[in-house]
């Protein structure tokens, strides 16, 4: 992301002249509304969730302030941890799915689309502007037992065959929903790739596969990792897709949170799960940052 890159590279930001109290007041006023929002609708709510996660459920829902680790302990008991494992599996499978579909596509747009790159990217963006819910609903219709699935059922001769309500339907929805987020960073890295490297690899006698593995893939790696993070993280917290396409049977963390907060009104239990989900995210992002930096270091040594 560019903004992060600015901070890292220390890009020269505009410095306005003068630094008196008026200038400082203006700065404060400019940043004030966003700061209020960040403080009251991000920092404070997350802090409250953290506090709630150590509390216990009140007699009529809500929260009784206590300090116990019961909510966390419950998550790690047999059934409580299932949504986390399901989410990890589904998000990993969805990321691999996006990669399998997205990498050839990004490569095609970056190297073969020529002057129509813009059009191809635009065509990729347009479905992304259509409501996520409607796109998920679309698969609810397509996977309807009477539509496309009926043909497959006849072909297989298995009257029980169905897709809605299975993890496969959820997986399809995940890949469909998040594909562009994988393709954009891949496209950006592949687009910047120096094509002469491919020529050089070919001239040195490397085959297509060797060129792909030793030239293209290492160049695409930062985009690949960024894309994977961009799709993995929202997939971990997905709720709409498993609810609609999985009938809630593919029980992910999102479903568990929804039930705890809006159905059972057991806020402390839900808060503990939310905190654990955030921890999973932080671990993932830390791993991502470590990976990106590690990649940078190896490339430097390889230059030497």
């Amino acid at each position: 992301m560019t903004a992060a890159a600015d901070v890292q590279t220390g890009a020269p930001e505009a410095t306005y002249r003068g630094g008196g109290w008026r200038s400082r007041l203006l700065t404060a006023l400019l940043v004030l509304p966003a700061s209020i929002w960040y403080l009251f609708l991000l920092v404070l709510p997350l802090a409250i969730v953290l506090v709630f996660s150590f509390g216990s459920r009140g007699p009529r829902g809500g929260f009784t302030p206590t300090f116990s680790l019961d909510n966390y302990a419950n998550v790690f008991r047999a059934v409580g941890v299932d949504p986390f494992i399901n989410s990890l599996w589904m998000a990993a499978a969805g990321t691999v799915g996006c990669l399998l579909v997205g990498l050839p596509l990004a490569y095609y747009i970056a190297t073969r689309a020529g002057s129509r790159k813009g059009l191809f990217i635009l065509l990729l963006v347009i479905p992304f502007w259509v409501s996520f819910l409607i796109r998920t609903y679309a698969w609810f219709l397509i996977l309807d037992p009477q539509l496309a699935v009926a043909a497959v059922r006849d072909l297989l001769g298995n009257p029980e065959f169905n897709l809605l309500g299975t993890p496969w339907a959820v997986l399809t929805g995940l890949v469909y929903g998040y594909l562009p987020l994988m393709v954009f960073p891949l496209y950006v890295t592949l687009e910047r790739m120096d094509r002469t490297l491919l020529e050089a690899s070919k001239d040195l006698g490397a085959g297509r596969w060797a060129t792909f593995r030793q030239v293209t893939l290492p160049i695409a790696l930062p985009g690949l990792v960024t894309g994977s993070i961009l799709v993995f993280i929202p997939m971990m917290g997905e709720f709409v897709i498993p609810q609609i396409l999985g009938y809630g049977r593919t029980f992910l963390v999102g479903n568990a949170l929804y039930l705890d907060f809006l159905e059972f009104r057991n806020w402390p239990a839900g808060s503990a799960k939310a905190v654990l989900l955030i921890i999973v995210m932080l671990v993932t992002v830390t791993f991502y940052l470590w990976f990106i930096n590690r990649g940078r270091r190896t490339r430097e040594t390889s230059v030497l």
């Binding site: 560019t2 505009a14 400019l30 596509l105 689309a113 409501s131 819910l133 609903y137 609810f140 020529e199």
Partner: protein
């Protein structure tokens, strides 16, 4: 809308093109094109299915085709629940987009003027608001509003004495707008900052050298340069809010159901082609917004002689 296969030769790209003798190369090229065409079909077919079945003349299942009809659009347009949902959707999405565009742009401008440490802290918060899963933001906001209102409303009641209908803050459009503005401010902030960092600084310097006041410099140099990003941010904020289900469902009240909540409810209770008709109208509206935004940007860029497109601006920040 499948992808047109473009022969590499015509585009004149210096790619390792398949030579006539290279059988494998030809196969790989063929597979590339086929894959791309299939992916674009995969992207658009589901949306077409939703639209198609909105015109279904059936009384029973949505997916049993029984002839072309516009009757379900009529049903949807005369449905009071839909009217209320449309009203709520607009009165949430519009104020949200205005506030987010304003706050995000202000913050982006302000952040150039602060110390680096403050900026890094801000960046961290911006990324937290984008990275933390939507459902966690949604439930945290619910818990926050609920806890706050438990304190605020008795206090308000005590202040007002004993009127027949005391003024109270409840879960409703306001709480949804407040929650949406958080995410969207971050979005606009990222877009505008990306634009700021690629902006030509010499113009600002030149403006100061020509003795323009800071306000005049802002109005004549900075704002026009940022406008494409602000417009894109506004449109993205509007569509996000208009299409959002998760945050809305956690922070809305019984009277502030929006179109996505209506559709989700229908999916749970059993869908009719009315659902498709509503979805089709939402879709048409969102896409025409995108189209309009693109036109505005093109008109802007023609006046200023710079190229900008929605996709380009979003890619710049992405």
């Amino acid at each position: 809308m499948s992808a047109p296969a473009i022969p590499a030769a015509r585009t004149g790209q210096p790619v390792s093109r398949a030579k006539p003798v290279d059988r494998l190369g030809g196969l790989v090229e063929f597979w590339f094109r086929g894959h791309t065409a299939l992916v674009y079909a995969f992207l658009y077919l589901p949306i077409l299915v939703v639209v198609l079945f909105a015109f279904n003349d059936t009384e029973r299942r949505v997916t049993t085709w029984s002839g072309f009809s516009l009757k379900w659009f009529e049903v949807a347009l005369n449905d009071r629940v839909v009217h209320k949902a449309v009203e709520n959707s607009f009165w949430i999405a519009l104020p949200n987009a205005f506030l987010a565009a304003l706050f995000g742009t202000m913050a982006a401008l302000g952040l150039q003027r602060v110390r680096k440490s403050v900026r890094i802290g801000y960046d961290a918060l911006t990324y937290v608001s984008v990275i933390v899963p939507e459902i966690v933001i949604a439930l945290a906001t619910l818990v926050f509003f609920s806890s706050t209102l438990d304190i605020v409303n008795p206090a308000l009641a005590a202040l007002q004495g004993n009127p027949s209908r005391p003024f109270k803050i409840n879960f409703g459009r306001e709480t949804v707008i407040a929650a949406h503005v958080l995410f969207n401010t971050s979005l606009v902030l990222l877009l505008v900052r990306a634009r700021l960092s690629t902006m030509d600084r010499t113009l600002v310097e030149a403006s100061y050298d020509l003795f323009a006041t800071p306000w005049r410099t802002f109005r004549q140099i900075t704002l026009p340069a940022l406008l494409p990003a602000i417009v894109a941010g506004f449109l993205l904020a509007f569509t996000f809010s208009f299409d959002d289900y998760i945050i809305t469902t956690f922070t809305s009240g019984p009277q502030s159901s929006t179109l996505p909540l209506f559709i989700f409810g229908q999916v749970k209770r059993g869908v009719t082609p009315e659902t498709n008709a509503v979805a089709t109208m939402m879709l048409a509206f969102t896409l025409s917004m995108l189209f309009l935004g693109q036109l505005v940007l093109r008109w802007q860029s023609r006046r200023r002689g710079q190229k900008s497109s929605l996709a380009g601006i979003v890619a710049e920040a992405g």
